[in-house]
Amino acid sequence: MIRFFSFLGRTLEEAMQGTGQTVELFGRAALQVRHCWKRRRFLLDQLYTCGIRPLPVVLVVALFTGMILALQTGIELDRFGAKDRIASIIGLGLCREMGPFMTALILTASVGSGIAAEIGTMKVSEEIDALEILSIRPESFLVMPRLVAMAIVTPLLTFVTDIVGILGGCLVSATRLRIAPEQYLKNVVESLSEVLTYGGLPKDLYTGLVKAFVFGVIIATVGSSAGLRASGGAIGVGRATRSSVIQSFVLVIVVGYYLTSFFYT
């Protein structure tokens, strides 16, 4: 029993410590954003790594998600003679929730884990120590470019997910539910235009993009923090990568709920 509580205590302590370090790292990296121009080359590299490389996966997942959504909801709606509502359901569902969540989960798996593994390998091979001795702050040299890149590309990829998902839904609606594509797209635009915010941007799209921005920051920070805390060679890097993916998944879902609650209640 004592052993169990000791284990529980240790685990909780480590979790709290990790959270504290991650929040602190975010603060320190955010302060380094002023050095963006100086690190423009690394930033461009990261924009490519975080934005272009995962694009094929994002496109495929988005297309099929839109198609599945159309198929599942379309069949049910058809039974009640309300299949015309499918465009609004897909448009709103994707822009509000599914677009940002799906993009974030894909980026967590493909980019966040990569960030943790890359920085973790640098940590265990003493490259981070070398940077510190050269008086180069890892949060400026390594974390900030990844943080900025993810904050930029996550909303962009989310927008792409929204569009491709809607088109996937359009494809299924036209072929399986016999809804004219023009009608479908008109319905999507109408449902999104019901509430407009700044500059005429639909609120549902805007809130989704804000969520995506927050998710991008979370994924980059959690990945970097896990990498910087890696120790113990290859096993340590593996552990850091795994924990970064789990933490990012959980945080994306939990923070996503609170953001939804903030925007819609």
């Binding site: 003493e126 490259e127 070398a130 001795i133 050269l134 008086s135």
Partner: protein, 275 residues
């Protein structure tokens, strides 16, 4: 952003004619340093003084805290007890800003070389220059050529670290250290895993860096030829303490039983390794 690198002619690496190792003041001092990891005491009240301008070798079996000692000196680790001084600055308990300042004077050659893998050789060497100086790109390039030339690695300027051999990586890492214009260089097992010829080359390079730039060096090794080639004084560390310290020549002929035992190979470098 500080401009730590003045023009080449006035570089602080230029030898100070007045600074000689023998009788020179202590530049680095460790007083009663203790360090433990978990329950294992690695350093046990270690005292050490390194004089300005000398190459000080720390010799000893594996696992006696030699590399830990170097990491304590640059503040990568904190001692449990004791004092660590670099010049007039105290390293233990130094704040972040003070630590950055101290590190600005120290170069560290890692056993693993610790080159940034996704940067080319030239970009690695240019790091301290592009980060801490306002030199223009062509001036940085000129400096990079100069430092790579000094370690005979100019031909590999555009290669990636992954394409280099162990010895080549160490030389590039040394060029990067030199580009930071340090007054103190710490070498952590610079010849580990290298063949005898490369070992001799690295030892000669360490000696030539000291002669040309007048830097104070600490060389951690268990490679005797390297120690005798590069060192001015040698300390033998065992049980977390310095058990014997002398000039290189006298050290190699000492009667101290633990040292004699080590020099004769009486104690395996890696416990249990075939001899």
């Amino acid at each position: 952003m500080s401009d730590r690198v003045p023009p080449i002619a006035a570089t602080p690496l230029a030898p100070d004619p007045g600074a000689t190792a023998a009788g020179a003041e202590a530049l680095i001092r460790l007083v009663g340093v203790h360090k433990a990891f978990g329950g294992k005491h690695v350093l046990n009240g270690l005292d050490l003084e390194v004089r300005r301008g000398e190459t000080f070798v720390i010799l000893g079996p594996s696992g006696t805290g030699k590399s830990v000692l170097l990491k304590l000196l640059v503040g990568l680790l904190k001692p449990d007890r004791g004092e660590i001084w670099v010049g007039r600055q105290r390293v233990d308990g130094a704040r972040d800003r003070e630590l950055w300042e101290i590190r600005g004077r120290i170069g560290y050659l890692f056993q693993s070389s610790a080159l940034i893998n996704w940067l080319t050789v030239a970009e690695n060497v240019a790091l301290p220059l592009s980060e801490h100086t306002r030199l223009r790109p062509h001036e940085i390039d000129q400096r990079v050529d100069e430092y790579l030339g000094k370690v005979h690695m100019l031909q590999s300027k555009y290669q990636m670290p992954g394409e280099l051999s162990g010895g080549q990586k160490r030389r590039v890492a040394l060029a990067r250290v030199l580009a930071g214009t340090p007054t103190i260089i710490l070498y952590d097992e610079p010849t580990a895993g290298l063949d005898p010829v490369m070992t001799q080359n690295i030892a000669a390079l360490i000696r030539s860096v000291q002669l040309e730039f007048g830097v104070t060096s600490i060389l951690v090794t268990h490679d005797l030829p390297c120690a005798s080639e590069a060192g001015d004084r040698v300390a033998f560390v065992d049980g977390g303490k310095v058990v014997h310290c002398d000039t290189t020549e006298q050290f190699m002929h000492t009667d101290h039983p633990a040292v004699r035992n080590f020099l004769r190979g009486g104690r395996p470098v890696v416990p249990g390794a075939p001899r």
